[in-house]
């Protein structure tokens, strides 16, 4: 798979604050790429550098094989961009706005018209005759996607497209992104991890200016995730009795305990399971519940960031 976007050794400071520090990132063609980071991690900054709107202090960015240079927006016909808070000319209607964008991007009138109709129905705004001033945030976000896709970019960069939306609005955006997956590579930044788990093939977590973890979702989970085994007893005394057993003691280094519950974790979950079952058999204890908890992205994220 070819990389649509590749970033090498990127750095950026604002004054004395180092926001991006030697960042490496590559986004293979055809993926939906989740770019995860806390508020202020530098997601928007990285995206603006990719668009040539911010000057990097060092490093290289290539989009579709072409180097990005600050102040040169010519390459941006490869990239569609949806800003975090897309704003439009409130007095325009959606078709009119897309016509303007088409003209500015140098598309032909008839091409723009066909593409606009196609895109407005993709984002569910076809037949909307209202002025943009009366749009909800979700509608603006969807119009923003249509605008970003107008000149058939190879890469769509969305800056937190779902953060300000309610669950319905979020699902609409995610569905649209899923629909365009075949033709356009999508990068979207977010801190809503359930959205990432829903549609992303690959993720990268931005922390302290560089990528703390990256890979496909399942890779990350097996590489970094610790699986957890939850046991629930009916009485607190049973928990102490369980813990008192010699065989279980080596596994107790990372347990979480609350009330009658105890959670064991470690790299080798099968080993933990075996030990626990034999301990239970020896002591005759019978838990009321025993289950393997899948590691969530949320846990992973917190582990990286905290």
């Amino acid at each position: 798979m070819k990389d649509v976007l590749s970033i090498k050794g990127l750095s950026k400071s604002f004054g004395t604050q180092k926001v991006i520090d030697n960042l490496d990132l590559s986004v293979p063609e055809g993926t939906i790429f989740g770019f995860i980071g806390q508020n202020g991690a530098g997601k928007t900054t990285t995206m603006k550098m990719t668009l040539g709107l911010l000057e990097a202090d060092g490093g290289e960015i290539t989009v579709c094989g072409e180097a990005v240079r600050y102040g040169q927006t010519k390459n941006n016909h490869h990239i569609g961009y949806l800003p975090d808070v897309p704003e439009f000319y409130n007095y325009m209607k959606p078709l009119e706005y897309l016509a303007l964008c088409g003209e500015i991007a140098g598309l032909s009138k008839s091409n723009t018209k066909d593409r606009s109709d196609e895109l407005l129905s993709l984002v569910g705004l076809n037949g909307v005759k209202k002025r943009i001033g009366g749009f909800s945030r979700g509608m603006k976000q969807r119009l923003g996607i249509a605008q970003a896709l107008l000149s058939r970019p190879k890469l769509l960069i969305c800056d937190e497209p779902t953060s300000a939306l309610d669950p319905v609005g979020r699902k609409e955006i995610l569905d649209i992104l899923q629909k365009i997956k075949g033709t356009t590579t999508v990068i979207f930044s977010t801190h809503i991890l359930s959205d990432v788990e829903r549609i992303c093939d690959r993720v990268a977590v931005l922390h302290n200016g560089n990528i703390a973890i990256s890979g496909t979702l399942s890779e990350i989970k097996t590489m970094h995730g610790k699986e957890r085994l939850l046991l629930e007893f009916s009485q607190k005394s049973e928990v102490s009795q369980f813990k008192a057993c010699e065989k279980i003691k080596p596994l107790l280094s990372q347990t979480e305990e609350s009330g009658t519950e105890i959670i064991l974790q470690g790299k080798d979950i099968v080993h933990i399971q075996r030990v626990v079952i034999s301990v239970l058999a020896e002591t005759g204890l019978c838990p009321s519940k025993m289950e393997i908890m899948e590691s969530s992205l949320e846990n992973l994220f917190l582990e990286v960031v905290m």
Binding site: K48, L51, G52, L53, L54, E55, Y70, G71, Q72, T73, K74, N76, H77, I79, Y81, P83, V85, P86, E87, F88, Y89, Y91, L100, C101, E103, I104, A105, G106, Q147
Partner: protein, 262 residues
């Protein structure tokens, strides 16, 4: 100018007509200055000619080259050819400032500029288009105002004096040199300030300062201190055009993507 830039210009011009408040300012100020003020003046002269004896001193200094049958015509000529041109410095400053403030700072403030910045046009091309749209707007307002003023005052003059009193040659210098030059200066000041200014009002106030020297000019005219003849006008126009040119080229160095995105 390519088609992408003309799309931007069309959009800017359309944007101002979509904003009721700005449009009202853009229309009402010129109408008051170029229609209401001279009409009142002409009517006053017609109905109460004796109150204008104060103008005697000023009239005697006029380099009068037309045949004046009477005092009234002289006063009207003074009004038409020496006082009204000053308004054609104020009007382009106002029109250009409103337009430029809305097209540069207003778009930055409303964050619609971001979309324009990452389009395939270069920053310079975007700014050229925007400067041009402000310039077109201010020229349009000036020329329309001149046309309407001339029509209305000529009719009034004809009705009150029985003959016409056409504008003299200095109008050509005012309309073709002076008012384009001051409107360019006003636009450039706003463009230069646009990286720093966060709101439209803030940047309009800056260029309102430009009107100050004009007010001195008007006061000077009335007191008979400076009487502007065509050569002074030409010199002044050329100087202003030069300043506008230098300021405009310098302003391209002051703007960058980073400063416009803040």
């Amino acid at each position: 100018m390519n088609t992408m830039q003309s799309a931007l210009i069309k959009k800017d011009l359309r944007g101002i007509t979509a904003n009721k408040q700005l449009l009202v300012a853009m229309i009402s100020v010129p109408i008051v200055l170029t229609v209401v003020v001279p009409s009142i003046f002409i009517m006053l002269i017609h109905f109460m000619p004796n109150d204008f004896s104060d103008f005697d001193a000023m009239l005697r200094m006029l380099p009068i080259d037309i045949q004046l049958d009477n005092m009234n015509t002289a006063i009207i000529s003074l009004l038409l050819n020496n006082i009204m041109p000053v308004f054609f410095i104020i009007i382009p400053i106002m029109a250009a400032s409103i337009m430029a403030a809305s097209s540069f700072v207003g778009e930055k403030e409303k964050r619609t500029l971001e979309t324009l910045l990452y389009c395939p046009l270069s920053l310079k091309q975007i700014f050229r288009a925007k400067i041009l749209s402000s310039f077109i707007m201010s020229e349009l307002v000036s020329i329309l105002s001149f046309t309407i003023m001339t029509l209305v005052t000529q009719i009034e003059i004809f009705l009150t004096t029985g003959s016409l009193l056409l504008p003299n040659i200095s109008w050509l210098v005012v309309l073709l040199l002076l008012s384009p030059a001051v409107s360019l200066i006003a636009i450039t000041l706003i463009v230069r300030g646009s990286a720093r200014a966060q709101t439209m009002e803030e940047s309009q106030q800056r260029s309102a300062l430009l009107v100050l020297p004009v007010i001195f000019l008007v006061a000077g005219q009335f007191m008979g201190i400076i009487l502007i003849n065509i050569w002074i006008l030409l010199g002044l126009g050329a100087l202003l055009a030069l300043i506008a040119w230098i300021l405009m080229n310098g302003s391209f160095q002051k703007i960058s993507y980073e400063s416009m995105l803040r």
